[in-house]
C-alpha cells in the first residue's frame, strides 16, 4: 500500500493510492467482503429451500393447533402450541440473522476497502484491523446460527448460551475494527495539511463500472419507489388485517365456530405471504443496487478482459432485476415465479464469483492492467 502517515508525499499534500498488494488491507477487505456476501447469499438460498418454507408451515400449523385448542377449551394445549410457535420463530429468526449479517458485513468490508487510502495509519496496522474485522464478521454469524441448536448447554450464565457469547464477541471485534478505521479517517482529516489522495479506483470510468453504477442506482431508486408504494397502499391495510383476522379467529374459537376458525387461519397465511414477498422485493432491489454500485468501484481490480467484465456486469444486473420482480409475482404464479427468482439469485452469485476470481488473479498495481488476460 502506498499510503502511510510518514511518507514524504503526504507532507506535500499529494498521495497515490493505487496499490493492491497481496495481503494488503484493501485486498483482504475486498476479497473477504465479496466472500462474505457470496457465503451469505448461498446460505440464504439453502435456507430458503430447506428451512424457510418448512418452518413457515410449522408456525402456521402451531397457530392452527392453538386456535383449535381454544375451540376445544384446552388451556394447556393453547400454551404448548404458543411455545412451539416461539421455538420455530427463534429457529427462523436466527437463520435470517445469519444470512443478513454475513451480507451486511460484506457490504461494510467493501465500503471500508474503498476508504483505505484515507485511513491514516501504517499498512501493518490497517492489515491488523482488516483481519480483526473479518474474524469478527465470520464469528458473529456462526454464533448466531448456533444459538437455536446449542441453547444453554454448559453455559455459565442463566439466560445467555455459549453461542450468543461468541456471537457478541464477534460483534465486538467488528465494532473495534470499524472504530479503528474511523480513527484513521479522523486522523487523515485532522492532519495539518490533509493529503490529497489520488485513488485509481474512484477515477475509473470503464464501461463495466459505469454499467454497474448506473444499473445499481436505478435498482436502488426502483426499490425506494416500490417501498413508498407499499407504505402508501399496503402497510396500514396489512396491519389492520393482521389484527382483525386474529381477532376473528379467537372470537370464532370462543363461539365454537370451527369453519370460521379454518377460514381465518387460511386468510392469515395468505396475508403473511403477501407481506413477505412485498417486503422481500423492496429490500432485495435496494440491496442488489447497492452491491452493484460498490462492485463498480472495484472493476479495475477484476483481472478479466473488458468484454467479459461487461458480460458479468450484465449478468449481475439481470439477476438483480429478475429476483425481486419474480418474488413479487410468486403469489400469483406460484412455483414458476419462485423458480425464476431462484435463477435470478443464482445469476447474481455466479457474477459475484466471477468478479471475486478476477480480483484474486489481480497482480498488484492499477498501472499493470494494460496487459490483463481474459
Amino acid at each position: 500500500m502506498a499510503f502511510s502517515r510518514s511518507t514524504d508525499k503526504e507532507e506535500t499534500g499529494e498521495m497515490q493510492a493505487s496499490g493492491f498488494a497481496p495481503l494488503s488491507a484493501r485486498r483482504l477487505l475486498v476479497l473477504g467482503g465479496i466472500g462474505l456476501i457470496l457465503v451469505g447469499m448461498l446460505f440464504g438460498d439453502i435456507f430458503a429451500v430447506f428451512v424457510l418454507h418448512q418452518n413457515a408451515a410449522r408456525v402456521g400449523a402451531s397457530l392452527a393447533a392453538a386456535a383449535h385448542a381454544a375451540l376445544a377449551g384446552d388451556h394447556s394445549a393453547v400454551l404448548a402450541s404458543f411455545q412451539d410457535v416461539g421455538s420455530f420463530l427463534e429457529n427462523r429468526g436466527t437463520k435470517v440473522d445469519t444470512h443478513v449479517h454475513l451480507i451486511d458485513f460484506g457490504y461494510l468490508a467493501l465500503m471500508l476497502a474503498v476508504l483505505q487510502p484515507w485511513i491514516a495509519f501504517e499498512e501493518k496496522a490497517k492489515r491488523g484491523f482488516a483481519w480483526l474485522f473479518l474474524g469478527g464478521a465470520a464469528l458473529l454469524p456462526i454464533g448466531v446460527f448456533l444459538i437455536h441448536h446449542v441453547g444453554l448447554a454448559y453455559s455459565p450464565l442463566q439466560t445467555i448460551g455459549w453461542a450468543s457469547i461468541f456471537a457478541d464477541l464477534g460483534g465486538l471485534l467488528v465494532i473495534l475494527a470499524t472504530l479503528g478505521f474511523l480513527l484513521g479517517l479522523v486522523n487523515h482529516f485532522r492532519s495539518r495539511v490533509p493529503a490529497h489522495v489520488k485513488d485509481g479506483l474512484l477515477s475509473d470510468r470503464s464501461t463495466s463500472g459505469r454499467l454497474l453504477l448506473g444499473g445499481g442506482m436505478v435498482l436502488v431508486l426502483a426499490g425506494f419507489l416500490h417501498g413508498a408504494y407499499y407504505a402508501a397502499v399496503d402497510l396500514y391495510r396489512h396491519e389492520a388485517l393482521d389484527s382483525s383476522i386474529l381477532t376473528e379467529t379467537a372470537k370464532a374459537a370462543a363461539a365454537n365456530d370451527a369453519d370460521t376458525v379454518d377460514r381465518s387461519l387460511e386468510a392469515y397465511g395468505q396475508l403473511q405471504g403477501d407481506k413477505a414477498v412485498k417486503i422481500a422485493a423492496h429490500a432485495h432491489s435496494i440491496e442488489f443496487g447497492l452491491l452493484a454500485m460498490m462492485l463498480a468501484f472495484f472493476q479495475p481490480y477484476v483481472r478479466l478482459r473488458e468484454s467479459w467484465k461487461i458480460r458479468w456486469a450484465y449478468v449481475l444486473i439481470l439477476g438483480s432485476v429478475l429476483l425481486p420482480v419474480c418474488v413479487l409475482l410468486e403469489l400469483r404464479y406460484g412455483l414458476a415465479a419462485g423458480g425464476l427468482a431462484d435463477f435470478g439469485g443464482l445469476l447474481v452469485i455466479l457474477a459475484l464469483l466471477a468478479m471475486w476470481i478476477g480480483i484474486l488473479r489481480y497482480p498488484g498495481q492499477l498501472d499493470s492492467q494494460a496487459g490483463d488476460a481474459g
Binding site: 392453538a66 386456535a67 385448542a69 381454544a70 375451540l71 376445544a72 377449551g73 384446552d74 388451556h75 393453547v78 400454551l79 404458543f82 416461539g86 457490504y107 461494510l108 465500503m111 474503498v114 474511523l182 479517517l185 474512484l202 477515477s203 470510468r205 459505469r210 453504477l213 448506473g214 442506482m217 436505478v218 436502488v220 431508486l221 425506494f224 419507489l225 417501498g227 413508498a228 407504505a231 396491519e239 393482521d242 389484527s243 386474529l246 381477532t247 379467537a250 372470537k251 374459537a253 370462543a254 363461539a255 435496494i286 447497492l290 454500485m293 460498490m294 463498480a296 468501484f297
Partner: protein, 164 residues
C-alpha cells in the same frame, strides 16, 4: 474531496453510528420486553377464547395490536437509518460522476442527507402519536430521498463527468 462528497460520506458515517447506537439501545433495553409483550398478549387472547371470554380476548388483542405496531416501526427505524447511511456513503463515493455543478450537487447532497435522517425519524414519531404529523414527516423524508436519488441518477446518466 468536494464539499458535497464530504457531506455525504461524513453524514453517512454519522447516521450509521446513530442508527447502530439506536439499535444497540433498542436490543438491550426494549426489544426483548416488546417481543415478550407481543407473545404474551397473543397467547392471552387465545387462552381467553378457550375460556369462552370474548371481552378479555378483545382486550388482549388490543394490546397485541399496539405492541406489534410499535415493534414493527422501531425495527424499521433501525434498519432504515443504517441502510440509508450505507446508501449515502456509496453515493458519496460516486458523487464525482454526477454531471452537475458543485452548488447543485451540494443541494442534492443536503436533500439526500436530510431525507435519510427525517424519514426514519417520522416513522419513530408514529410510535408516540398515530396522527397525521408523524406520517407527514415520514412522507416528506422519503420524498426528499426519492427526489434526490432521481436527480442523481439523471446526473450520472447525463454523460461522463471528469474525475475529481
Amino acid at each position: 474531496m468536494s464539499g458535497s462528497r464530504k457531506l455525504l460520506i461524513l453524514g453517512g458515517i454519522a447516521l450509521a453510528l446513530w442508527g447502530m447506537g439506536y439499535g444497540t439501545w433498542y436490543a438491550v433495553f426494549a426489544e426483548h420486553q416488546a417481543l415478550d409483550g407481543i407473545g404474551a398478549s397473543l397467547a392471552a387472547a387465545f387462552d381467553a377464547s378457550a375460556s369462552r371470554n370474548p371481552g378479555e380476548a378483545e382486550t388482549a388483542f388490543s394490546k397485541y395490536r399496539e405492541a406489534k405496531y410499535i415493534y414493527d416501526r422501531q425495527v424499521d427505524v433501525h434498519g432504515h437509518w443504517i441502510g440509508l447511511a450505507m446508501l449515502l456513503i456509496v453515493v458519496g463515493m460516486a458523487f464525482d460522476r454526477v454531471r452537475f455543478a458543485e452548488p447543485h450537487k451540494l443541494v442534492l447532497a443536503c436533500a439526500l442527507l436530510a431525507g435519510a435522517a427525517i424519514f426514519p425519524f417520522g416513522v419513530l414519531l408514529q410510535t408516540f402519536d398515530h396522527g397525521a404529523i408523524p406520517r407527514g414527516i415520514a412522507i416528506l423524508g422519503s420524498g426528499l430521498v426519492i427526489a434526490a436519488l432521481l436527480a442523481i441518477t439523471l446526473g450520472i446518466a447525463g454523460g461522463e463527468a471528469p474525475a475529481e
